[in-house]
């Protein structure tokens, strides 16, 4: 069952400076492009600490901020808002890129 419909659970996110891609702060204080590796703050106090840590690690990212998430019983984290779901999962349609060269 999904928890945290009130938005108590938070992760810290930003866009990476060098290429703009979406990243989250992990437990080790590194920025990761995998949401499942994000550090989750479980109450307001820890959310403030998480955001402070994110800002302290902001040399390689732009404008860190907190994202409200839910967490399933198996620990899968998902953003609450559609905007953040799209930031986490990418486009919701197939881009016209059949011949696209996907960069690493």
């Amino acid at each position: 069952m999904a928890k945290n419909l009130t938005g108590d659970l938070q992760v810290a996110s930003a866009n990476r400076l060098v290429d703009g891609i979406v990243v989250w702060l992990d437990e080790a204080g590194q920025w990761t492009d995998r949401l499942e590796n994000a550090a989750v703050a479980r109450d307001k106090r820890n959310s403030e600490i998480l955001l402070d840590r994110a800002r302290a690690e902001a040399f390689t990212v732009i404008d860190p901020f907190l994202v409200a998430v839910t967490e399933d019983d198996d620990g899968t984290v998902e953003p609450l808002s559609l905007r953040e779901k799209i930031r986490a999962s990418g486009l919701t349609f197939d881009a016209i890129a059949a011949d696209a060269v996907r960069y690493a």
Binding site: F59, L80, I96
Partner: protein
């Protein structure tokens, strides 16, 4: 092969653009090295068209007055492959956006653009943005004069203009040279309409204070007739008044339309004319300068040809889709035996305005083979071949079909304008492209589309109205209500041929899964009520909103 029949950069232009690339390269280096903060760097990157969107940086490339050479389009394809994901999005301001640019690659992308006399300056920020123009310019049968000559003059004047680099808000200028406005001049900060007065002189109607966005306004006539050579001085006076009195205290009230609305067009005119009287002699272009630029827009040598061709007629009779394409995607040309062809970037179910690198190259091939190596981007997010011989239409159709761009839907219900929406845009509240795709798939039948007739749907993912929803025959605005995407439907907007009107909201917003059936109900109501020859918007004006409301929401 001649490169272009439009303005070619001189040494001054090339030096300016090249120096700008060098400056930006150094700014990026300093940002990546931590010598500049994001707060310091952000205005610098925005001045070079580099935005940060949801997933990545987005580079907005200026396509002045929507005119491109095939060589430039090939370079755009190349840049999109090399530095992006192999596709681009043509916008409602005749620009191209690349959605996945890396900051570290941006200077190289700009350097590549500079190789073909292009840049991304003034595609962001509170400055005079890329000047737009009629996409049929230089080819339209109803044209009085080619508006691109003046668009180019305005481009040169406004590029890095020190007085107008930090206006209260962004400033958009559109120019048409035809009585049938295809450039939406009444919904721009300044719209310019070339016309001929009773003395036979050609000059500008200057329209001010139009715009969409949060507070849509139809522009008002500031000057009925302005001699052409006075254009820059008059624009300067207008911009100066705006710069002085435009509101800087409230972002949402900073556009010139709010100033004109608050003080009234009469007071605005009084202020502009006073400023103009004091400064008019300081900025009058020498005739030689105007002529030199005009010469660069000299029309291509198009010897008149037969107005019809046997093979066109034969295919028209044997191929129903080609016959529909001739009706909707081909327009008459000023020279007998030629036509203006629109490549629809709206194949069924595709993101409106998107083209892959391969498709761009295919378009470039067609322009070189059949259209004087020149093409246009329309504000309706399509590409136009301005000079096609009528006898070549079957080959052009076949070539476009191979690219997926021969949909016979120009001006029809699936020729949808849509902004990038919440899938890409940091400002959006709701998605636009998936909504456009669902509508497009639902109405994919060409026979049905042509039966419905001219009907323009315009979709915006937020109130900033990049998808021009206010002037859609059916306008769709995405909103966020408590985390749920809802879509507000408006009817009766229009922007074509001087019939500019803002749509009226039909009723309560609908959920995403109800948009298609709502549009279908609106179309059905129109089909049931229309009289001979009536377009959708004509029927709407005749019968009003009530029948549409009852069909969509039930008896009221």
């Amino acid at each position: 092969m001649p490169d272009t029949h439009f303005y070619r950069y001189d040494d001054y232009d090339r030096t300016l653009v090249s120096e700008r690339v060098d400056q930006f390269r150094d700014q990026v280096r300093r940002r990546l090295a931590g010598e500049l903060t994001e707060e310091q760097f952000k205005p610098l990157r925005l001045h070079n068209g580099l935005y940060l969107q949801l997933h990545a940086y987005m580079l907005r490339i200026a396509i002045p007055y929507g005119t491109l050479s095939s060589r430039q389009l090939r370079k755009l394809a190349d840049i999109s492959r090399k530095y992006d994901r192999g596709y681009g999005h043509f916008t409602t301001r005749q620009n191209l956006q690349l959605n996945w640019i890396k900051l570290e690659d941006a200077p190289d992308a700009l350097a590549a653009l500079a190789e073909v006399d292009m840049h991304a300056m003034q595609t962001s920020g509170n400055c005079i943005r890329n000047v737009t123009a009629d996409h049929y310019a230089g080819a339209a049968i109803d044209e009085i004069e080619d508006p691109r000559i003046w668009a180019e003059i305005v481009r040169q004047w406004s590029t890095l203009h020190p007085e107008f680099t930090f206006l209260p808000r962004k400033f958009k200028i559109a120019i048409t040279g035809s009585p049938n406005d295809r450039a939406a001049v009444r919904v721009h900060d300044i719209g310019l309409r070339l016309w001929r007065n009773q003395q036979g002189e050609v000059g500008f109607e200057v329209i001010v204070g139009g715009g969409l966005g949060r507070t849509p306004m139809i522009g008002k006539t500031l000057r009925e007739f302005l001699p052409k050579d006075e254009l820059l001085a008059y624009l300067e006076a207008t911009l100066r008044v705006y710069n002085r009195y435009g509101r800087r205290d409230n972002l949402y009230k900073a556009r010139i339309k709010i100033l004109v609305h608050e003080v009234g067009v009469e007071k605005m005119r009084e202020e502009v004319e006073a400023e103009y009287a004091a400064t008019r002699d300081g900025l009058r272009l020498p005739a030689g300068t105007i002529e030199a630029i005009a010469r660069q827009f000299a029309p291509p040598d198009l010897p008149p040809r037969p107005a019809t061709a046997g093979r066109v007629e034969a295919q028209r009779l044997s191929d129903p889709d080609f016959a529909l394409w001739l009706k909707s995607n081909v327009a008459p040309h000023r020279v007998p035996g030629y036509a203006i062809v629109t490549a629809s970037l709206k194949p069924a179910g595709s993101p409106p305005g998107d083209a892959s690198a391969t498709q761009m190259e295919g378009i470039a091939d067609i322009t070189e083979a059949y259209s004087q190596a020149e093409l246009r981007v329309s504000h309706e997010q399509n590409l136009i071949f301005p000079h096609v011989a009528v006898e070549d239409l079957p080959q052009v159709y076949r070539s476009l079909a191979a690219l997926g761009f021969a949909e016979a839907n120009v001006g029809k219900i699936t020729d949808i304008i849509a902004c990038p929406g919440l899938d890409y845009c940091a400002l959006a509240n709701a998605r636009s492209i998936p909504v456009a795709q669902r509508i497009s798939n639902h109405f994919a039948s060409l026979a049905r589309q042509h039966d419905i007739g001219d009907l323009k749907i315009k979709i915006s993912g937020c109130i900033n109205a990049c998808g021009h929803h206010h002037v859609g025959h059916i306008g769709i605005l995405g909103v966020d209500r408590n985390g749920v995407e809802l879509y507000q439907i408006s009817l009766g907007g229009d922007v074509d041929f001087g019939r500019t009107a803002l749509g009226t909201i039909l009723g309560p917003a609908v959920t995403a899964d109800k948009v298609v059936e709502t549009v279908d109900a609106i179309v059905t109501t129109y089909l049931d009520a229309r009289e001979d020859g009536e377009r959708f918007v004509d029927t709407y004006r005749r019968i009003g909103a009530q029948p549409f409301k009852e069909k969509v929401y039930g008896p009221l």
